[in-house]
Amino acid sequence: MTSLQRAWRGGKNDWRLHVLSIFSVAVAFVCLAAALLVVVNVDGLRDRWARAGRASIYFKIETTEAQVRAIENAVRAAEGVTDVRYVSSDEARREVLGRGDQVLAALPAAAFPASLEVMVDEGTEGGKLATLASRVSALPQVESVETYQDWTERLASVLTSGVTASLVLAFVVLGAVVSVVASTIRLALQRRRIEVEVLKLVGATDSYVRRPFVVEGAAQGGIGALLALILLAVLYGIVRENLGGELGVLVGMQPVFLPWTFMISMVALGSLLGAVAAWGSLRRLLVV
């Protein structure tokens, strides 16, 4: 009879205990996986925003359309620029009116300067948008250039705190999983103390006695992590179904689930933690 079979026999008899442990582990892992999911998506977003830069060039009121068109052509020819859209003063005004904002509609035409919406592909080295922005803002017709740089920076800081939070959470999960599995295994050992006593009596080595318990601990950790991922995937699917499309349009990116490598690592981490916890909890208890 292999350790696996012995673990199965032991686990079957105490299945309630194991189910409880697996659920507790799963709850811990859901928290960690959810945090990671947010980090992964924010990271993707930041990546995208950093690579595909956007700028709005606002013109002074006295600028003529011909001047704007000339600048548009120059910008279009600049390195990395993928798209330029001209938004006239009227269009800007109509956009606001379309939203039905009466206060803004009462403003004079000068409040709605004409602008160019520029899309830049930063490529790998980056810095193209910054160069373009500094050159364009030197032109006498240009009032201001908005590069949304602070948005990217804000996203980066969200990401940093997200990673920090996930790290802290990872340690909490680590502790929770270890303590849940360790106490479950201690309890299982208590319930099977006759079996353990007899095994030692008939000449089982410590490792032979311990092995099925370690297998059970690893199974609890691994299955708990897997269950957490399945739960999260279902939740993710529901959220994506309901507002994924609009969210994607809004931020310019479709949300993604955790990559395979993350998921496999998480299950492996669960198994490892479970095995270590079981091993540790048996070390002190297996004496005779």
Binding site: N13, I194, K200, V202, G203, Y208
Partner: protein, 258 residues
């Protein structure tokens, strides 16, 4: 399955003849001292020698140290002083990793059976063989044989909890002999059974003994000692006293008081 330091070549009773070993005692106690608390020593310089193939009763009042003596043998306790030699090896000086290999040469039966109640008879009896990592087929054959020997042939799939006390003790005996140990220890194996069942179980140990196994049988039930003339060792004042012609009057009185 397990490899490691072997206690000694596995001795399978009856199928090995060593001229030297046949004359050496299988077991000897030399000036053994043991106390759980310093003010109440249990064994005080006990000397004893047991030959291969002997059947020995250990008796003495409750608390005399019968269980302690057996526990020292399978290294569940260690001696404070003196030494115990089993098949030429000093038990007290075995390294912890060698103790399992010692225990594979010893079968033990207890008063409280120590069976896993929600397992089948066969699963319980299989334990010593599974520890050895024997192939499944061989294990099944040997379980069948052991159950035949204790009169439980064909009962392998019964759940232990559904058996009577006498049957449960038979399962425990089958588990003790299935690995064909050189030495079988019985610690008050009949203590929980009514008198007729007790005699039946004693009969089982007689059968086991007749195949060449050394049997140490601890009991405070003196009616069992009269069933057949056997070597009787009385534990008294922390020492072992041989009562070659049965119990003498003094000891009988002491037993009656206990």
């Amino acid at each position: 399955m397990d490899s490691g330091p072997s206690f000694s070549p596995m001795l399978r009773s009856g199928n090995r003849f060593d001229q030297e070993a046949a004359h050496r005692p299988i077991l000897s106690f030399e000036q053994v001292h043991k106390a759980y608390r310093s003010d109440a020593p249990v064994l005080r310089g006990m000397n004893l020698s047991i030959q291969r193939g002997e059947f020995v009763f250990f008796t003495g009042p409750s608390g005399a140290g019968k269980s302690t003596l057996l526990r020292l043998l399978y290294a569940a306790e260690t001696v404070d002083a003196g030494r115990i030699l089993f098949m030429g090896r000093e038990v007290g000086r075995l390294r912890p990793e060698s103790i399992p290999f010692l225990r594979r040469n010893i079968g033990v039966v207890f008063q409280d059976f120590k069976l896993v109640m929600n397992w089948s008879v066969a699963e319980n009896v299989a334990m010593p063989l599974e520890v050895l990592g024997l192939p499944e087929r061989l294990i099944r054959t040997r379980i069948g044989e052991a159950l035949e020997r204790v009169g439980l042939g064909g009962r392998g799939s019964d759940v232990v909890a559904t058996l009577s006390g006498g049957e449960q003790q038979r399962v425990a005996v089958a588990r003790a002999i299935v690995g064909e140990p050189a030495l079988v220890l019985a610690d008050e194996p009949t203590g929980n059974l009514d008198p007729q069942l007790a005699v039946d179980i004693l009969g089982l140990f007689e059968d086991i003994h007749s195949t060449g196994v050394t049997v140490l049988f601890a009991t405070h039930d003196r009616s069992l000692l009269d069933v057949r003339p056997r070597r009787v060792i009385v534990l008294q004042d922390g020492k072992a006293i041989d009562a070659p012609n049965g119990l003498d009057g003094d000891i009988e009185d002491e037993l009656r008081v206990a």
